[in-house]
């Protein structure tokens, strides 16, 4: 265009908002650290069949309780040792990442759909809808959720699907609360009023005007809720009432290692640290996204 060449700023390129956010992300230490560690864990989980040196379910009673490599009697054949059934600990750890990530993401998606729907409706419509949703949230918060989840999984019978479903149906409260507050702020902004005035349907306004503007918050809550699901799954499996053996859930591995605490404490610390590092990396990533996308972070 002709006018563009007349602009005094023609030599200066302004970064687009997307570029600015990308630059800030690269500079954010927590975000980068969390992102890289999480990427590694995801790659390990995806490539577990290729990377794992042994069959995670293959028992060999002649090779029970071999110590990890940092002990004097450790061997490179089993870098992280073997458990009480002679299964390779490193392989089980790698396959275990799949279970944690699968449960974390799937439960987050279910609870995300439930919580976001509730929160957006309460925030947008207000009035009676808001009262009802708020009451449901208070009830959910008063329920001792961990104990109830434990009871349901125990009564119905523990399995991967049941754990995902129970967690998904129970941990939507933070989604609902945050989405409700974010939507309330949007209810009376100009572009929503404009869409209303131009006759858009409510559904369309929610989808094309409200949702894109609360997406940042949604992503932040989503990442943090993955870790909540991962921690609860680990706890259920640790108590023996979540994912069932012989699946290599990290919480279950800690539980199975309890009786060998005296002579093989590494059997507890290795899967425990795995849970800790995974949760830490996702939390750092989520905090980083919040810092970078929050308006006050865009200085």
């Amino acid at each position: 265009m002709n006018t563009e060449s007349l602009s005094p700023f023609k030599d200066i390129t302004f970064p687009t908002p997307g570029q600015m956010i990308r630059r800030q992300m690269l500079r954010h230490k927590g975000f980068m650290l969390g992102g890289i560690v999480l990427l590694l864990i995801v790659l390990i989980a995806l490539l577990a069949p290729v990377l794992a040196p042994h069959d995670p379910y293959g028992q060999d009673l002649s090779r029970r309780l071999i110590n990890p490599i940092w002990h004097e009697d450790g061997t490179w054949e089993h870098p992280l040792g073997t458990d009480n059934l002679g299964r390779d600990y490193l392989s089980r750890l790698m396959y275990g990442a799949r279970i944690s990530l699968l449960i974390g993401v799937a439960a987050m998606l279910i609870s995300g759909v439930i919580g976001t729907t509730m929160g957006v409706c309460a925030g947008y419509f207000g009035g009676r809808v808001d009262t009802v949703v708020s009451a449901v949230i208070s009830i959910r918060l008063a329920l001792p959720i961990l104990l109830v989840a434990l009871a349901i999984v125990a009564l119905v019978g523990g399995s991967l699907e049941i754990v995902i479903l129970v967690l998904g149906l129970m941990i939507w409260n933070r989604f609902a609360l945050v989405m409700r507050a974010s939507t309330q702020q949007l209810r009376s902004v100009d572009y929503v009023s404009a869409a209303k005035a131009s006759g858009c349907s409510t559904f369309r306004i929610l989808l094309t005007e409200v949702l894109p503007n609360i997406l940042n918050n949604l992503i932040v809550v989503g990442t943090l809720e993955i870790t909540r699901a991962i921690l609860i799954e680990a706890m259920l499996s640790f108590l023996g009432l979540g994912v069932q053996p012989p699946l290599p859930s990290w919480g279950l591995m800690v539980s199975e290692a309890k009786e060998f605490m005296l002579f093989s404490p590494w059997m507890i610390t290795i899967p425990g640290m795995a849970i800790f590092i995974l949760v830490l990396s996702i939390n750092l990533l989520g905090d980083g996204i919040r810092d970078v996308t929050a308006p006050e972070g865009r200085s």
Binding site: A135, A142, V148, A154, V156, F238, T269, I275, F276, L280
Partner: protein, 305 residues
């Protein structure tokens, strides 16, 4: 204030009622209590007999109404496993859980609030960053794993503390830490933000300008105002803590109601599980009610809303 309090109390009652209904339904729909009572190798006839004997053949709503009516009068039914009233079984265990909860709570408060004050006094220094880093690390740590690490370190390696049971005060040190550390980060962060806000306000500057010493200003003027939301949060955290205490009770074999709940779940002793879920919910509701009333009492703006 009275109108606000009345509304809040009514709401709390409704929430408690709803929670009792939902937990009753969830637990009874998740499994067949009659089959569980009759045992694994019972014949279908025996299961039917049990179903009729315990009134489990009636509609769930009727069963709930009956249970709720009795619960209001303090009768929580009998445990088929212990053959004793649920009330007596829980009454014998609640003390242990309360001691654990209070110890954990004290640990969290005495660590979280000073850390928050220190972080606020030296913002953006290594001290502040250390406190923030600790809180990020703490939030990623599964509590059962933290408990086991404490056991391995203090119990197995150093042999300083007993690793299971609840007989002496020494038995409560590690469980209290393992249960309480999770509340430290949120208490710390809230104290830090509150203190930063208050320290930047005019009346603190005035107090300093008058020549008051730093410490009296800190404690008499600043902390007193910054602490209000922290106290409210602490109540809620206490209720939440009791709800999650069962994991720690299992790790350390502390014989409280959480330990009892997990064992009862394993042997499908539903009346006990129901009563404990209800009890924990009521405690949580009371704690949030307390926090709300405290906030409203101290901050008149909330009452008007």
């Amino acid at each position: 204030m009275l109108v606000y309090a009345g509304k809040r109390i009514l709401l709390a009652l409704l929430v408690a009622l709803a929670v009792s209904f939902i937990s009753f339904m969830i637990l009874n729909l998740s499994g067949d209590p009659a089959a569980a009572l009759a045992g694994a190798d019972a014949t279908p006839e025996e299961v039917e007999y049990v179903r009729e004997k315990y009134g489990l053949d009636r509609p769930l709503l009727v069963q709930y109404a009956e249970w709720a009516r009795r619960a209001m009068g303090g009768d929580l039914g009998d445990s088929p496993y212990f053959n004793q009233p649920v009330k007596d079984i829980i009454g014998g265990r609640i003390g242990v859980t309360m001691i654990l909860g209070v110890c954990a709570f004290a640990f969290a408060v005495f660590l979280g609030i000073p850390l928050g004050v220190i972080a606020a006094l030296r913002p953006n220094t290594w001290l502040d960053r250390l406190a923030l880093t600790l809180s990020v690390l703490g939030q990623a740590m599964p509590n059962f794993f933290f408990g086991l690490i404490l056991i391995i370190f203090f119990g197995v390696m150093l042999r300083l503390l007993p690793i299971s049971g609840s007989e002496t005060w020494k038995h409560f040190i590690m469980p209290a830490m393992a249960l309480g550390y999770y509340a430290v980060p949120s208490l710390m962060r809230l104290t830090r933000t509150g203190m930063l806000e208050v320290l930047a306000s005019d009346y603190i500057r005035t107090a300093r300008a008058k020549g008051l010493h730093a410490l009296p200003v800190l404690f008499k003027h600043a902390l007193r105002n910054a602490i209000i939301p922290v106290v409210a949060l602490a109540f809620v955290q206490f209720g939440y803590m009791l709800g999650g205490a069962f994991v720690i009770e299992v790790v350390f074999a502390v014989r409280g109601i959480g330990f009892l709940a997990v064992r009862s779940i394993e042997r499908t002793d539903l009346p006990v599980v129901q009563a404990i879920v209800l009890l924990l919910a009521v405690i949580y509701v009371l704690m949030t009610l307390f926090a709300d009333l405290l906030n409203a009492f101290l901050d008149p703006r909330i009452r008007v809303k």
